[in-house]
């Protein structure tokens, strides 16, 4: 080209790259450094203590519990969300069979898609406050109200849902699945619609039933979208901070009762903001980073299949 390229390239790149390095890369790198110190955050004073923060982390029962809870989220969330979303997407797109012999979704699938997707656009704060109302531990709570009306729960002893040591975390997971299914449903729907109709019609003519159609045609052709969904959900499972910190009991950033629904993110924030242990919190950040990294790589490798062109 006759025009000079170099000033143009530089001019376009300098601001985004500078901003990105200053606010993203540099803090990331600093975290690794701080994680090796006993820095409190309040003063500029810090001593190099090597890997002490990390050895302390793996003796800290609260942290190990949080790690276990994160791993539970990591298994349950993707599995539940993807299975539900796949089921709904299949029903909406190819599940219905009206008399004309074509392959199509059940009635009202457009309506269902709009409704199911809606929680995705609600801010996480709205989700949290909404479900604090739904899970209210007296008879004014929506779920308790339903259960009392059905006669399952005694009016004078309503359930404690998110404050329950055993089920608290499961209640939060319920919210995440509730809000996430719609998105993955739409994702899988888009993928299903790109599968040519004649494949389904051929299967129909060969007498394939709905179940066979799903397992032999839909699932293999959707594999790539499922893989993407898995990675996204795994990253979401490592987060979950906003909901856990506000829905479960506990003075600073939830996680209670007595660490029973603690996750790494809530522990990190409490150590950083409340206890003033910035170095220790940084070490947790590094651990979260490595788990995320390993997860993404592993899930991309393990689930790799031959790509099917169609």
């Amino acid at each position: 080209m006759r025009h000079r390229k170099t000033p143009f390239i530089l001019g376009f790149l300098v601001v985004p790259v500078a901003l990105y390095i200053a606010l993203v890369i540099w803090p990331y790198l600093q975290t690794f450094g701080y994680s090796l110190t006993d820095w409190s955050g309040a003063s500029s004073e810090m001593n190099f203590i090597g890997l002490d923060n990390y050895t302390a982390l793996f003796k800290d029962s609260a942290f190990l519990g949080a790690l276990r809870h994160n791993l539970l989220l990591l298994v349950v969330l993707p599995l539940a969300t993807i299975l539900l979303a796949l089921f709904f997407a299949f029903m909406l797109n190819v599940g219905g069979r009206s008399g004309t012999g074509g392959v199509q979704g059940v009635r009202g699938s457009a309506f269902y898609k709009v409704v199911f997707f809606f929680p995705q656009v609600l801010s996480v704060a709205i989700l949290s406050v909404l479900f604090q109302g739904v899970y209210r531990t007296d008879k004014g709570g929506l779920l308790n109200g339903v259960l009392i009306a059905l006669g399952i729960v005694d009016e004078n002893h309503p359930w404690d849902f998110a404050s329950n040591p055993t089920f608290g975390l499961w209640c939060v997971m319920g919210v995440i699945v509730w809000s996430g299914v719609g998105f993955y449903l739409v994702l899988f729907s888009a993928a299903m619609q790109s599968i040519p109709k004649d494949i389904y019609e051929a299967a129909l003519l060969d007498g394939a039933q709905r179940g066979t159609t799903f397992f032999k045609i839909t699932l293999p052709l959707l594999w790539e979208s499922i893989q993407t969904a898995w990675v996204y959900l795994a990253i979401a499972a490592m987060d979950a901070f906003a909901l856990v910190s506000t829905m479960t009991p506990g003075a600073y950033y939830g996680g209670g009762p007595d660490h029973h629904s603690e996750i790494m993110a809530t522990l990190l924030m409490r150590n950083f903001i409340t206890y003033g242990k910035a170095g220790y919190a940084c070490a947790m950040g590094v651990v979260i980073f490595f788990i995320t990294l390993v997860l993404s790589v592993v899930s991309l490798r393990v689930t790799r299949r031959e790509k099917i062109e169609f």
Binding site: R2, Y28, R97, L130, W178
Partner: protein, 317 residues
């Protein structure tokens, strides 16, 4: 859309109970029979899930018309008096301000994200130069990292920045705008990079031969051509930044009692819910949520097709 199959085959849809109705003999009939029971089952499931989503939302809206005793007494009480005082109370307690703060920040951060992101992505996608791949992977790598990794140093960086440049520090709109932009760049660059690559180069070459400058070619030729990709990634960023909770929670705390409360909507709503003062005013809280939900609902319902298409194409890249 699969639901239009009937129209294309030219046979009037017989959907009402059509699944149990044998329309043609032979194989057709067998499919339909097999689907009958399953269809009731799957319809039941779909309807149940729809109810699970709609009921809590309606329940919240109804709650903003009840009074405290009605809310506490039973989940099934019906508002005895339809008035909007709860909405005024919620507005007075700051929902309006949170809204304005959020809109200010999002307006700034989305403009910057789209502008800087598309510029960087365009140059990286269409121009050969040394270091191109390095910078590209540098951006992409950032999309993999959890924000927790940066949180602690970022907080102190903004704090220190505030002592040098007051309008960029903690609890400042401009500071948060820059942070949002920086953290949205990796995905934006990644997505738009592949999009700009897929555009044909002939139009661009023609413009250059006509004497167009590189900058002008970008803004007047390439950006209009990339419109659909830009819209997808824009919607993705709107939702992502609208949903941010951790960053404003860390960076937008009042620094002193004289510092104005510039909470984002998510953060402000959560604070209101947790303040003991608000606990005695559930109708106000419910009204606040209704106010926060309505604009999103309206925008979503008017653009739902674009939102769904945009989000899914952005994710599958």
């Amino acid at each position: 859309m699969s639901t239009n199959t009937d129209a294309t085959t030219g046979i009037p849809a017989q959907r009402s109970g059509g699944n149990d109705e044998p329309r043609k003999p032979g194989k057709q009939q067998r499919f339909a029979d097999g689907g009958g029971v399953l269809n009731v089952f799957s319809h039941g499931f779909l309807a149940l899930w729809a109810v699970l989503i709609i009921v809590p939302l309606i329940w919240i809206v109804l709650g903003s018309f009840k009074n405290n005793t009605e809310i506490g007494d039973s989940a099934w009480s019906w508002p005895s008096h339809w008035g909007f005082d709860a909405f005024t109370r919620a507005w007075d307690k700051g929902i309006g301000d949170f809204f304005v703060s959020t809109v200010i920040v999002l307006a700034g951060s989305l403009t910057l994200t789209m502008l800087l992101g598309s510029m960087a992505a365009y140059v990286l996608a269409r121009y050969e130069f040394r270091g191109n791949r390095v910078i590209y992977y540098f951006f992409v790598a950032g999309a993999m990292f959890p924000v927790y990794l940066a949180l602690v140093p970022l907080f102190f960086m903004m704090k220190n920045l505030g002592t040098v440049i007051p309008w960029l520090g903690l609890n400042q709109y401009a500071g948060l705008i820059l942070v949002y932009t920086a953290y949205s760049l990796p995905f934006t660059v990644f997505f738009l990079h592949s999009f700009f690559r897929s555009l044909p180069s002939a139009v661009h070459e023609a413009a250059m031969i006509d004497g167009c400058s590189h900058t002008r070619a970008f803004f007047q030729v390439m950006v209009p051509m990339a419109k659909s990709g830009l819209i997808s990634v824009f919607i993705f960023n709107v939702l992502g930044q609208w949903n941010q909770y951790l960053l404003p929670l860390t960076l937008m705390q009042q620094q002193s009692s004289s510092d104005p409360d510039r909470s984002m909507l998510a953060q402000g709503l959560m604070n209101l819910a947790q303040q003991s003062g608000y606990a005695s005013d559930f109708p106000g809280l419910f009204a606040g949520m209704t106010i926060a939900m309505l604009p999103v609902l309206v925008v979503y319902l008017s653009f739902q097709r674009q939102v769904q298409a945009g989000l899914t194409s952005a994710t599958l890249k």
